[in-house]
Amino acid sequence: MLSFLEIAKRSETGPMAIADELGMKIAGIVTGLAKKYDIAYDPEVRVNTDDDLADRVWQAGRDLILEIGLYSINSRRQILFSEREVDEGLAAVRPEFTAGEGLDTALVYRRDVEDNRPPVIFGGPFNADVHQDMFVRLNEAFAGEPLIDLLLLPGYLKELDGIMIRPNSGLSTRAAMFYGRWAREAISRAGRPGLPIVGHAVMALNEVSSANEEWGLRSCDPRAFALISELQVDDVTLTRLAHYQAIGAPIYTSATPLIGGYGGGPVGTAIIGVAGHIGSVMLGSHVMHLGPQHIKYKQQTNAMSLWLGSVVKQAAARNSKMINTTSVTTSGRPGSMQYIYEFSALVLSVVPSGSNLTGPRPAEPLGWNNVSPLMCRLFAEVGHAATKIDRKEANRIADTLHEKYKDKIELKDAPKGLPFEKMYDVNTLQPNDEHWALYEKGKSELKELGVPLE
C-alpha cells in the first residue's frame, strides 16, 4: 500500500485524463492483454479448473493496473503505481485480521483455492432498502444467525421520519448517525454486542458521522467503500479512506467490474477485476470484494458472472495473500426457490476458488426489507459445504443449478419474493412455517444434487 499522503499527492499531481477516454483506453488495453496472455472464456464452464488460466488473468490484471493506475474523478488525474510499489504493496498485505470485540470477535482470513477452512460469512441486509421501523429488528434477526461472522451493511435508509434523504444534506448526517446507533442496538439485542458491523451508510461524506465508539460504528468495525467502475475513485472515496485510516478501522473495498461495459466480455472484465483488487491493495484495503456484475442482467449469477467470479478469485488466491470475498446478488428474490438456486450456484463457484462470502441480496429488491436472515443461514451452510468438494464437482453442481434458473434470469421474469415481514413473525423474529418449509425444501434439493450439507 501507499501512505494516504502519497495517494493524495498523486491524485493532485498525476497525469490528467478524461474519464470516457480512459474507459475506452482500458477497453483497448484489455483486448491486447487477453491476446498476449491467450485468455478465453468458455461458455460451458461455471467454475474454472485451469490454474494456468487463472495465473494468466492475474498477470494481465497486474499489467493493467501498472499501465493505467486508478483514476481520481474529481481531480481528473491518474494515480499511477510503479512495479516496485505494487510488488511491495502485495508483499505487505495482511492475510488475516480480527474485527469486532470480546466473545464476538471475528477472524477474517484469506483462503486458498480448494481450502477446507470455512469461508468467512459477511451476511446482513447488504444495503437493500430497509425501513426505519424494521431496521433494528431485521438486523437483530440477522445478528442472531450464528453462522454470520460479520453483520454486513445494515440497510439503505432512503427516508427518515417520512422525509426522503438527499445525499449530503443535514438529514443524511442524522440518518448516518441512526444507522450506526440502530445497528449497534440490533447486535446487542441479539446478544452479540461485539459482533463486527461492516458499515457503509450510503450517505456520501456524511457517513463519517456514524462513527462513535459508544453508540455508533466502532474502530473495530470494518468500513466499506466501492471503487467506481472502472478503476476510479472520487473525493468521497478518498475522504472515507482518510477517515478509516485515522480511526484504524479495517477497510473493505468492492470492485464491480461490469461485464459488457468497458471491459467488453468476461475476459476483459476479469482482467479489470484483478486490477481493481490490486488497486484496492494499493489504497490500503484489507478485504477485496468482487461484484461480478453483468450490464444486461444487472445481477451476478448469470453464466458469465459465475465464470468470472471463479477465475478472478482463483487468480487472486493463487498469486497473492489478499483476503478475498465475492458479492452474491441474484435475480430471484427471497421467498422463492430460485433465490436458493442462484446464490448456491455462485457460492459453489467462488468458495472452492478461494473466496469468502458476502450476501446474498436480490439485485433489484422490490420495496422495503426484501431480505431474509434464514436464507443467509442457508447461504452460509452451502458455503461451508462447498469446502468439502473440489472445483470439478462444484462446476457440475453449479451447472445443474444454473440450468434451473437461466431462463428466468431477466429481472422482469424473476420471482418477486417477499418482504421480511411476510417471511417472519416480527415479534418472535422466527421464520414462519412457509419460510421454514422453503428452507427445508431448498436444503433437501441441494443435498440431492450433491451439495454435502449437514
Partner: protein, 216 residues
C-alpha cells in the same frame, strides 16, 4: 442501382467494423456517385448503427464496440454534413439534447449508452457527465439552444432531483421550452407522470423511440 447499393453496403460495413477512415471514405464515395445525402445517411449509416444498438442490447457486442461504431458514424456523418446542409437538412436534425447524471449520483454507464445511441440517431448531444447540479442542465440547455433535457438517476434518493428540474423550469417559466426525458433503473412511467416529465426511457432504445416521436 447496383453501384449505389454496393456503396451503401460499404457504409454499413464501416459502422459495424467501427472504422472511422472507411466510414469517411464510403461517405465520400456515396456523394461522388450521386447518392442523395439523406439516403446515404438513413440507408447507409443510420440502419447500421441501429442494428449495432440492438446487438448491444442483447450483448452480442459490448460497450466499447458500440462507442467506436458511434464514433465511426459521427466521422462519416461529418463528411455528409455539407451536402445535407446544402439541401437544407440539419445533421442534428433529430434535436439537441443536454444530458447528464443528476447531483449526488455517479452511475454513468447507462447514461453513456444513451448518449452513444442518441448521437448515432442524429441528435446533437451535450453530455454533462455525472453528479451534475440541476441548474447546470438549464444553463447549458439555454446556451446550446437545446430542445431536450435528459436526466439519469440510478438511486431512489437522487431520482428526486429529476422532480427538482421540472419545478425549477416551472419557476423560471421556461417549462414549455424543453422536452424533459428521465431514465435510470428506478425510474418508471408512474414516476414520469408523477413529476410531470414528458418522457421516460426504460433503455436506450426506448429513449430514442420516445424522442423521435415527440411532438414538442
Amino acid at each position: 442501382m447496383a453501384e449505389h447499393e454496393e456503396i451503401l453496403e460499404r457504409m454499413r460495413a464501416s459502422i459495424v467494423a467501427a472504422d472511422e477512415t472507411e466510414a469517411m471514405a464510403a461517405a465520400e464515395a456515396a456523394l461522388a456517385a450521386g447518392i442523395e445525402p439523406l439516403t446515404a445517411l438513413e440507408e447507409g449509416f443510420a440502419g447500421a448503427i441501429r442494428a449495432q444498438g440492438e446487438a448491444f442490447s442483447n450483448l452480442d457486442i459490448f460497450l466499447p464496440e458500440l462507442v467506436l461504431s458511434a464514433k465511426a458514424m459521427q466521422a462519416g456523418v461529418s463528411v455528409l454534413e455539407p451536402a445535407l446542409k446544402a439541401k437544407g437538412i440539419d445533421a442534428a436534425r433529430s434535436g439537441v439534447v443536454v444530458i447528464g447524471t443528476v447531483e449526488g449520483d455517479l452511475h454513468d454507464i447507462g447514461k453513456n449508452i444513451v448518449v452513444a445511441m442518441l448521437r448515432s440517431a442524429g441528435y446533437e448531444v451535450h453530455d454533462l457527465g455525472t453528479d451534475v447540479p440541476i441548474p447546470n442542465f438549464i444553463s447549458v440547455a439555454e446556451q446550446t439552444k437545446a430542445d431536450i433535457i435528459g436526466l439519469s438517476a440510478l438511486l431512489s434518493t437522487t431520482m428526486l432531483r429529476q422532480k427538482d428540474l421540472i419545478e425549477l423550469l416551472n419557476l423560471k417559466k421556461i417549462r414549455e421550452d424543453f422536452f424533459v426525458i428521465v431514465g435510470g433503473a428506478p425510474v418508471t412511467e408512474a414516476w414520469m407522470n408523477e413529476i410531470g416529465a414528458d418522457g421516460y426511457g426504460l433503455d436506450a432504445h426506448m429513449a430514442i423511440e420516445v424522442l423521435d416521436s415527440r411532438t414538442k
